[in-house]
């Protein structure tokens, strides 16, 4: 187990486990945290996992963890790692089962006061319009070439099916589509799991949330995103549902069998990986890209459903809901970065981490009942963290413990006292997502702001939460 004696302080917010810590490390491991967070981070195996990531072939510069890091499968959640595409690997564990789990923010033209006493009505309309919960399908079932088109085109396919406008795509990371996607690399099992799941939220920590912009830290950056204090906004948090999970399962199995042929051994089977340029590596990259496109299509259809709920509740008086931005936080992408003064292409894995390119909006959802944040990416992120930052709060309490210690009725009453309308499928699912089950998002965001890898633009306060 790692302890404080294994860690070097680089700055108030950045720490390093040097390459000399273990013989098989190819690069140092670095993580962002405040001093007060160290015991928490050392309390699980996230840093051991980060050290394991630092051993993977072709990794460049550092294995990186964000201040919301916690133990995952293979890679820690909150991890970033970049690999040379010719000498390095691709690993499903560095992306996660929920490919392109991510967040989308919408802004309204209204202030909270304008909603009057209709926030509850809005919450229940959202619950009616956005299917949620375990095993629940949506109103759109696609098969064959129709589903393949979604896998290959992503959000733009949904726009062409009249679920949104072309201008929506301008506000999405990668315009909501990865060009390398190939539906032919997605198994029939994955397609069967996903065929009726477009436009559905799922369960667990996924949600649709109504927020009010509580405080603006950077007026200029906020104005660029059309954000102002007191404004009503929405967040949609979901991913690729069962389709993405199955892609990850399928290719972890493929890679665990292929690794010996590529003479790769890993300290943890969940780090299964193959050379990026190998047949298996390229097939996974194309399948992962298709899964990512499915998630963007999913959030596009949910956007349509949210807009419908808004219109049904407030009519023309509500005005339009425009997209602020959409970010992925479980994905691998081919990106240009500067290393040693040269521009190089790298396969950047982000698992529970968000792209934070200079000037790009960054959406960081808090846990239920807590603040969320809009930030903006920075040049420092490009230089220090492969243009990456944190993704949220990170879990600190098991679901079992949450169910034992927190009462669902009391939690709903507490949310009500805080001025938050809750529309949830079950009390059991609700208590698992109680605020005390998660780390403090304010502290996490404070660290990335002080580290300079994303700057605070605005803080949001929830007024309604819809969960599966």
């Amino acid at each position: 187990m790692l302890t404080r004696k294994h860690i070097m302080r680089i700055s108030d917010t950045l720490w390093e486990i040097p390459r000399t810590h273990r013989d098989d490390m190819r690069v140092p491991a670095r993580f962002y945290a405040s001093e007060s967070m160290l015991d928490d981070i050392l309390g699980d195996r996230s840093l051991e996992q980060l050290v394991n990531v630092a051993t993977l072939p072709g990794i460049r510069k550092y294995a990186i963890a964000m201040p919301d890091a916690h133990e995952g499968y293979g890679f820690p959640i909150g991890g970033v790692a970049a690999f040379d595409p010719d000498e390095g690997v691709i690993s499903p564990g560095g992306i996660g089962y929920d490919i392109n789990c991510g967040v989308r923010m919408l802004r309204s033209e209204l202030r909270l006061d304008d909603l009057g006493d209709r926030v509850g009505d809005l919450a229940h309309q959202l619950q009616r319009e956005v299917p949620s919960g375990v095993g629940r399908g949506g109103s759109l079932t696609l098969r064959g070439r129709d589903l393949d088109a979604v896998l290959e085109e992503g959000a733009s396919r949904m726009v062409r099916m009249s679920y949104g406008t072309e201008s929506d795509l301008d506000r999405l990371e990668s315009r909501g589509s990865l060009a390398d996607a190939d539906a032919g690399e997605v198994s029939e099992t994955a397609k069967a799991r996903g065929r009726d799941q477009l436009g559905t939220m799922g369960a667990g920590n996924h949600f649709v949330e109504v927020d009010v912009v509580d405080r603006v830290f950077d007026e200029e950056a906020a104005a660029l995103s059309g954000i102002r204090e007191g404004q009503v906004v929405f967040q949609i948090h979901t991913g690729s549902r069962g389709l993405g999970h199955q892609i990850a399962t399928d290719f972890l199995k493929v890679m665990s069998k292929a690794m010996s042929r590529h003479r790769i051994t890993v300290p943890d089977p969940q780090l299964a990986c193959v050379p990026f340029r190998s047949d298996e590596g390229q097939r996974y990259f194309r399948a992962m890209s298709a899964g990512a496109n499915f998630a963007w299509a999913n959030r596009q259809l949910i956007t349509h459903e949210v807009r419908r709920a808004w219109s049904l509740t407030f009519g023309d008086a509500g005005g339009e809901l425009e997209i602020v931005y959409d970010v992925a936080h479980n994905i691998a992408k081919l990106e240009e970065h500067t290393l040693g003064g040269r521009s190089v292409r790298l396969v950047v894995h982000r698992k529970g981490a968000t792209r934070a390119f200079e000037g790009q909006p960054v959406l960081i959802p808090g846990s239920m009942g807590t603040a969320s944040y809009l930030l903006v990416g920075s040049r420092d992120a490009m230089n220090e963290s492969f243009g990456s930052t944190c993704h949220g709060a990170g879990r600190r309490m098991s679901r079992t413990k949450a169910k034992k210690e927190i009462d669902g009725g009391e939690l709903r009453a507490r949310m009500k006292r805080m001025g938050i309308e809750v529309a949830a499928g079950s009390n059991r699912g609700l208590v698992e997502e109680a605020p005390e089950a998660y780390k403090d998002v304010d502290s996490v965001v404070d660290v990335v702001h002080r580290a300079g890898i994303a700057r605070k633009v605005a803080r949001l306060r929830p007024v309604a939460v819809v969960k599966g």
């Binding site: 699980d44 916690h70 133990e71 995952g72 499968y73 293979g74 959640i77 089962y97 929920d98 919960g133 375990v134 095993g135 099992t189 069967a192 799991r193 799922g202 369960a203 667990g204 069962g242 999970h245 199955q246 990850a248 399962t249 972890l252 199995k253 665990s256 069998k257 010996s260 943890d268 089977p269 969940q270 299964a272 879990r395 600190r396 309490m397 098991s398 679901r399 079992t400 413990k401 079950s426 059991r428």
Partner: protein, 132 residues
């Protein structure tokens, strides 16, 4: 026999049994029980499963993911083995299944994380983590 153990973000299942075949049976029943399934009692089916893996622990994980696929795609819940033939890295089984009405706990996948299957001279022991 199986036990479901808390894990910070997920769920860990621990099992032990004198027979390896029964251990696999327990594991499938464990994830089925965790899913909180409501079945349609008179609608039953059987399926043939063939699984090949790199080692025994991966075999158990891959088998359980096939069980989850039957639930998620075909809405069929594991109800025991009609027959099973186990080798160190392969399995052939005929499984009994019940039609599913609903389920309320979502297992995204059975992971290889901390997965192990060992024999201590008396009992087979296994553990794996579920991504929920």
């Amino acid at each position: 026999m199986y036990e479901i153990v808390p894990h910070t973000a997920d769920v860990r299942i621990q099992l032990e049994n004198a027979s390896l075949e029964s251990l696999f049976d327990d594991a499938a029943h464990a994830i089925t029980a965790f899913s909180r399934i409501t079945t349609m009692p008179h609608e039953v089916a059987e399926r043939e499963l063939v699984v090949d893996s790199v080692d025994r622990a991966s075999l158990l994980v891959d088998f359980l993911n096939e069980i989850m696929t039957l639930l998620h795609v075909d809405r069929l819940a594991f109800d025991g083995f009609r027959s099973i033939t186990l080798a160190p890295t392969s399995l052939r089984a005929r499984v009994r299944l019940r039609a599913v009405e609903t389920w309320s706990e979502d297992i995204k996948a059975v992971t290889y994380h901390e997965a192990h299957v060992t024999h201590d001279g008396e009992l087979w022991r296994a553990a794996m983590v579920l991504d929920v």
